[in-house]
Assembly symmetry: C2
Homo-oligomer: 295 residues x 2
């Protein structure tokens, strides 16, 4: 591989293991994140610290952003110290955050005006997928840009699918989040029912996980609910942010999503009780409150 | 294996492939089902036709029932021509239908009084699981009885889990159906959203199936929704029967199941429109009616 530099913005739960894989794949990494201390572990692994997103962009062939929400992406690219201030002609910017499709389109347009190109490439698989480099990556943008990005994306993910033009990666990710939200509710209801009728939730899990009831949520979040491990694979607050975008987009297109709306309403209880920074498996606590029991 | 005879009652979508595997495993099969014509294919494969459930029981070391609902199980075991009329001392009866836990307990008690024993052993995996002999089997009853039944169950299933005393197989199956019902709703909502926002549903499926959004329902029912294949893997009417038992049991134990109730209410629209004998993937038609579009 020629010596290529990736400018990276954002080092949260997902960003840190993703950058590790990018470094391992042989890319140089220019790094910026708002809280400098969170980058230390990567700087000591060989990433170069930069003082701003604009500086990250200078001399990078790729720019990747992995930040929480639409305003963070706007500020990373379009802010006074943003990527667009330092963008070299021909740079390929890849936003792997989950944000609104409109923001993806707006950022893409501005980057295009400055001679760069843009892919929206949100991911699924959470912390474990990021650590194992088995993320599913949903890509919106030009096919030629995706081909250029592929060696970089391959360092982080396993399933890489071209979903359509810019914005379609984000729209596909919203489908993903609809599924995650409702599948999560399914797991919680099965668990609460099991406990209420006198089953051992652990044995129930073992009996049903391999059949037609099976899901990623059941196999990965179910055991954590039982062992009371609420460390975030994916935070309630971020799931709610994604469901907010999904429900807003659904409203604009008159798509009825009753199960998704229900899941989001129930996750609000977790936020009301200060559990927003826990993993989404904390939804079981809301069901426990409703049922008046603990698993 | 010694020459063992299995008395079998019920030859629907599930029963036919299950009996085939039992015959292949070397058991003799005595067969009874209400509609004689549906047994022909198995009789020509070597099963012995019997005129009643009582006759099926005579001389069988095992009796297996695989029928639609609680009243069918009651009549198969306790009716005037039922299994109990022909039960030999020591016969092990295994009901693999999905019925109410109370009925399972009542039938078990009557069989016990007549010197037989009983396991409730409902299954998950649908038609494809029955055909591939990869069913998940959820067993309630005595562990010693399960050990006796295991060579027979192994002919039909892969995951065999002892869930507790009689009735706990059915209760575990209800957890399974809660998961299936809500996961199905998740798939329908993601599909409708995808179509409404201009994504290709097929590409969306491909992008999200391997990640945190993945489920058996997504991988198995999603493609059928797209190809408009509504042949039953598992019928809407039977899913509704199972959800009725689940919601009834939940009411009795004060277990709140808002997502399950929602899924069941939406499946009522399929029944209202004459789609009750289609596969559960027909729920997409209800969502299409709500959204005013077709996939």
């Amino acid at each position: 591989m020629p010596d290529l530099t990736v400018g990276w913005i954002g080092t949260g739960i997902m960003g840190v293991p993703m950058v590790r894989h990018v470094l391992r794949a042989g890319f140089s990494v220019n790094l910026y994140t708002r809280t400098r201390a969170r980058a230390d572990v990567l700087v000591s692994s060989g990433a170069n610290w930069c003082a701003s997103a604009a500086e990250v962009a200078r001399g990078s062939q790729f720019v990747v952003s992995m930040v929480p929400d639409s305003p963070d992406v706007e500020s990373a690219y379009l802010g006074p110290e943003g990527v667009c201030r330092g963008l070299a002609f021909g740079t390929l910017c890849i936003d792997m955050s989950t944000i609104s499709p409109e923001t993806a389109r707006a950022v893409s347009a501005e980057i295009g005006r400055r001679g760069g190109s843009f892919l929206d490439a949100p991911v699924s698989g959470g912390k474990t997928g990021a650590e194992a480099a088995t993320l599913s990556i949903m890509v919106g943008g030009d096919e030629a840009d995706l081909r250029r990005a592929e060696p970089l994306l391959r360092a982080m993910g396993k399933t890489i699918v071209h979903c359509g033009p810019v914005g379609h990666g984000q729209l596909t990710k919203l489908c993903n989040q609809i599924l995650c939200g409702v599948n999560l509710l399914a797991v919680c209801e099965a668990m609460i029912f099991a406990k209420k009728v006198g089953l051992d939730p652990q044995t129930m899990l073992q009996a049903v996980s391999a059949g037609a009831a099976g899901s990623w949520a059941l196999s990965n979040l179910g055991p954590r609910m039982i062992s009371r491990d609420f460390a975030p694979m994916f935070m309630v607050d971020l799931q709610q942010k994604d469901l907010r975008i999904a429900l807003q987009t659904a409203k604009e297109t008159s798509a009825p999503l009753p199960g998704t709306a229900l899941a989001s309403q129930l996750l609000s209880s977790n936020q009301a009780l200060g559990e927003g920074r826990e993993g989404t498996q904390a939804l079981i606590k809301t069901l426990e409150r409703l049922a008046g029991i603990n698993l």
